[in-house]
């Protein structure tokens, strides 16, 4: 009996250690477009790190956005240099020196990865979940982003004609970041 209890305690501890709790954060408008519809109260980004597997799970949820629309979702890293890959996804531009851009009056060095698409239904609701990894250990300073269409830096959409950001998280200002640590 005692041994069983001890074993359960060890298992619980190991599980809690491997899975950090999920963090949920809101979307903000922009940093390029500020008029796209969204229910900012119920829309969200939820993420968690599995430190044993070195994976990052992210769920992008949009509520009351434009109905029947494709929104590309990804991660925008604030950096000076960056590797060529982030887990199993290529980094736009192939890594190296990060590009400096100015949005909302803020200038930062950035790079990005495109990881999926949210397709909205007739109510403008949609979600997309992804597991990224294994990811190289490090502290990543980032914003999650939702673009105004699909195809930016990917094959099979409308190309790089519309890479504009409709929503950022956390924001509200370009450069307001979340730090994710992969041990």
């Amino acid at each position: 009996m005692k041994r069983n209890f001890l074993l359960s305690a060890v298992l619980l501890f190991a599980t809690a250690h491997a899975f950090a709790g999920a963090t949920t954060q809101k979307w903000s408008a922009g940093w390029d477009n500020f008029g796209e519809p969204l229910n900012y109260k119920t829309s969200k980004v939820t993420w968690s790190v599995n430190s044993a597997k070195k994976t990052l799970s992210v769920t992008f949820k949009l509520a009351a956005a434009s109905p029947n629309k494709l929104y590309q979702v990804g991660i925008n890293f604030f950096c000076t240099t960056f590797p060529a890959t982030f887990g199993n996804y290529p980094v736009n531009g192939g890594g190296g020196a990060c590009n400096t851009i100015t949005r909302q009056g803020v200038t930062e060095g950035v790079t990005s990865v495109e990881i999926g698409a949210v397709t909205t239904d007739e109510h403008g609701n949609g979600s997309f979940a992804v597991v990224i990894g294994p990811i190289a250990a490090g502290s990543y300073v980032l914003e999650f982003q939702t673009r105004d269409s699909v195809g930016c830096n990917l094959i099979g959409g409308d190309g790089n004609s519309d890479c504009a950001d409709d929503f950022q998280s956390p924001g509200p200002t370009f450069g307001d970041t979340t730090t994710i640590t992969i041990p």
Binding site: S66, N68, K69, L70, Y71, T85, N88, Y89, P90, E114, I115, G116, A117, T119, D121, E122, H123, N125, G126, F128, A129, V130, D148, S149, V150, G151, N153, L154, I155, G156, G157, D158, D162
Partner: protein, 182 residues
């Protein structure tokens, strides 16, 4: 008492959730040269009879890296409702399904676009969706992955070659899966 409660819970759960069906992709029905690991790629679906919802998971393995594949359901029908769950139905004219010929088979169909598989640097990607509540009925369907994203939707490549089907399940054209919503 505890045992009875457990049994009741188990019974209600099994009544609500039918088992998951997993099926393979086949090539086409428009394009036949798109790369894919047909052994490990799959479509998995299940019906929750109590909530009248259909959950579908589309998995592509070793497709083209960094590519968008729009995924949908193609219904083989003569007439169809304007919506399937929370999604609008495409290619209906006054409620009639439109006749097309593929792989030497002629059939009438209507479509529901539900999402996109985005592949990683290995050509792997997954997309899961829950559709519903869905009107009760028997639906004869093929699952499809299209050659791009934007077909009948805003914000993508529009209604060009990206509407072509790279992969179908089960296939070939007109060979369907029957899904029953009670």
């Amino acid at each position: 008492m505890k045992k009875l409660l457990m049994m009741a819970l188990l019974l209600s759960a099994s009544a609500g959730f039918a088992g998951t069906t997993t099926q393979k992709w086949t090539a086409g029905w428009d394009n036949f040269g798109e790369p894919l690991n047909y052994t490990t790629s799959k479509v998995a679906w299940s019906v929750n009879a109590s909530s009248k919802k259909l959950t579908v998971t589309y998995t592509l393995v070793s497709a083209i890296p960094g590519k968008l594949y729009q995924v949908d359901l193609a219904f083989f029908c003569s007439t169809f409702a304007n919506t399937f769950g929370q999604f609008p139905v495409q290619r209906l004219v006054n409620g009639d399904c439109q006749t097309i010929t593929r792989q030497n088979v002629t059939a009438a169909a209507a479509y529901v676009e539900v999402g996109v598989v985005t592949t990683d640097l290995n050509g792997n990607g997954v997309f899961a969706v829950t559709i519903g509540p869905i009107a009760a009925g028997t639906y004869n369907v093929e699952f499809r992955a299209l050659d791009g994203a934007g077909c009948n939707l805003t914000g993508g490549a529009g209604n060009g070659s990206d509407c072509d089907a790279d992969f179908q399940s089960p296939g070939p054209f007109g060979t369907t899966t029957t899904i029953v919503i009670p």
